[in-house]
């Protein structure tokens, strides 16, 4: 929702997007949908429960069920606070300004549809993960090990993690690792989240294309 220079009047949802993004930039949210939904649940306490369609591509749909505000006395300001905070969280994760449309629902919950700001129809964005330079995956007699030269530590990991880190000498999206290693995409996303948390991979978000982030991107149709 942020657009660089501040306006003299910012609606309440824009304020919350900025505030939450600023809070979350120091500790980026997880990129795995269920983990991120759990974090959003926590941010609002027992207001509602979230379900996210995906976070490795746009548009993202967040469905909120059992919302305490979704009744006859619904307060629009609460919805706008909620939508703004969801946008701020996703902006901290994606590193790009987003905008959201909000559709209050009845029995099946409310839907928040998030797209990258200023692009038509939701420009596809995916997480690209690359192994950090201070990390070396090694196969030893004891098993698969990740050597973290910055921490001076060695950590036993499962084979899937080791294989992903072996492959991650260049940035690739989760779908790429899943395809070439024959792993489920959800499992790859969870592993990359954990590696991201440990500082073993660097993650950036960019349009899905055959060009890594930082280089001119060509949009492709891959989902």
């Amino acid at each position: 929702m942020n657009a660089g220079q501040r306006r003299d009047f910012e609606p309440i949802d824009v304020f919350w997007a900025d505030y939450v993004r600023t809070l979350r930039q120091a500790a980026p949210p997880p990129a795995e949908p269920r983990a991120l939904a759990a974090e959003l649940d926590t941010l609002f306490g027992g207001l509602t429960t979230h379900e996210l369609s995906r976070v490795d591509g746009l548009p993202i749909t967040a469905t909120c069920r059992g919302c305490r505000n979704n009744g006859p006395n619904r307060r629009e300001s609460v919805c706008r606070t909620h939508v703004g905070s969801v946008c701020g969280t996703l902006e901290a994760l994606l590193g790009v300004p987003v905008e959201a449309s909000h559709e209050p629902g009845a029995a099946d919950g409310c839907r928040i549809q998030v797209a990258v700001r200023g692009t038509a129809a939701g420009w596809p964005m995916v997480a690209w993960a690359r192994r950090a330079p201070h990390v070396t995956p090694q196969a030893t007699l004891q098993g698969f090990v990740v050597v973290d030269h910055a921490r001076g530590s060695q950590t036993l990991v499962n084979e899937a993690t080791w294989r992903i880190l072996q492959e991650a000498t260049e940035p690739h999206p989760a779908a790429h690792y899943a395809r070439i290693l024959g792993l489920a995409r959800e499992a790859v996303a969870r592993i990359l989240d954990e590696c991201h948390r440990l500082g073993w991979v660097h993650t950036s978000f960019a349009p899905l294309s055959d060009t890594p982030p930082g280089q001119p991107a060509r949009a492709s149709g891959e989902g």
Binding site: D8, F9, V14, T22, F44, G45, G46
Partner: protein
């Protein structure tokens, strides 16, 4: 309507600049200090208690001046020339529907901001409206477990050392109980606890907490006007609440009214620690507060626009019938950089456990706990 200003004004622009403008309704504006985007901006509530958005300093200044005066007066800030910054702000306020053409007197605007005369103490209708609007809104958006309202950390282990003994059931009060975390801890030690809060949604959560063998009695009220008789309490606590209320001195006076002679008062407040204070002195770095904080405590006045001197709070307690037993600083040296950390660390090592309760360090904790007793 768009207000225009041109070098050679057209008839339409002249007409717009002569239009009298006023606020659409009554507004309450809280000055927030959240860098980098909202430093000195104003979180704004309308007359129905709904938050409408955030105004820049320029926009707040225009809104303040919109008393049914011609647009050109709002734009010139006392001079003759139209200030383009204020013109932009005015047009955005008109677009957002906060200002409109108006004859006669405009509804009031209440500004909650640091004040030269009264520091961070706010009284009057604006303060009353703000507390009611803000916590009603916040209580409907954030529920128990949210880090924005329930960030207890390990504070219970520190605070519980000041709690009344389990052996002697006491009548206690948890002022600004929120979801009832500390009220529950007191009740589970066998005490009867009045759990007070201005937010009904918060109180419903507090009332649902398991309290045996004690009891929790929710009381919906403003903390400066608690419907209980004089001298009815053995113990009163107010944990990370005084930074949120309009007038913290009115709250502590109310707690002292309710305590019996010899009763215990326990206040916990956020504070600027050694690092924050040095950073403001040496680097003019402004410590960040949560946007919903109206103040933080500190040893040195003006460490932050919302800095309330801790010594003033202690003096006020003494003047209103309490003895200050201890002042304890928590996380005094957190995030302090070298070589200061080593220098202060050696002082802490020499003093041992006394460090956290020795002035001035006790007033320079990231959190400060004030333990008082009502005089007989």
């Amino acid at each position: 309507m768009t207000v225009q200003a041109q070098v050679a004004p057209s008839d339409e622009a002249v007409s717009a600049l002569d239009t009298r403008l006023g606020r659409r309704g009554e507004f309450v504006l809280l000055k927030v200090f959240v860098p980098p985007f909202y430093y000195g901006s104003y979180l704004t509530f309308d007359e129905t208690g709904e938050p409408v958005g955030v105004l820049s300093t320029a926009a707040a200044s225009v809104l303040r001046a919109a008393e049914g005066r011609p647009a050109r007066e709002l734009l010139s800030d006392g001079g003759q020339d139209v200030d383009p910054r204020r013109l932009d702000a005015l047009n955005q306020l008109v677009d957002a529907g906060l200002i409109r053409p108006m004859e006669g007197r405009a509804p009031a605007a209440h500004f909650i901001e640091p004040d030269q005369a009264s520091g961070t103490r706010h009284t009057g209708r604006g303060a009353e409206l703000f507390i009611r609007y803000f916590y009603d809104y916040f209580g409907h958006a954030f529920y128990e477990g949210s880090p924005l309202i329930d960030s207890h950390g390990d504070f219970l282990s520190i605070l519980s050392s000041y709690f009344p003994s389990r052996e002697t059931p006491a009548v206690c009060l948890d002022a600004g109980t929120g979801s009832g975390y500390y009220a529950t801890a007191l009740a589970q030690r066998g005490h009867h606890v009045y759990a007070c809060d201005i937010s009904r949604t918060r109180l419903q959560a507090a009332a649902a907490q398991p309290s045996a063998p004690g009891t929790i009695q929710p009381v919906e009220c403003s903390l400066d006007d608690i419907p209980l008789p004089d001298g009815c309490l053995d113990f009163a606590m107010c944990n990370f609440v005084l930074e949120h209320v309009a007038d913290p001195y009115a709250v502590t006076e109310e707690l002292l009214r309710l305590l019996r002679p010899g009763g215990t008062l326990l206040l916990a407040v956020p504070s600027f620690n050694v690092r924050d204070t040095l950073a403001s002195w040496l680097h003019q770095e402004l410590p960040t507060l949560n946007f919903e904080h109206l103040r933080s405590y500190g040893l040195i006045p003006r460490t932050h626009p919302w800095c309330e001197p801790t010594l003033d709070a202690l003096q006020h307690l003494r003047e209103h019938g309490a003895d200050v037993v201890t002042v304890q600083g928590v996380n005094i040296l957190n995030n302090l950089w070298e070589p200061w950390a080593s220098a202060f660390g050696s002082i802490a090592a020499q003093l041992g456990p006394a460090f956290s309760v020795t002035w001035p360090w006790s007033c320079l904790g990231q959190q400060t706990i004030i333990h008082g007793r009502k005089r007989a």
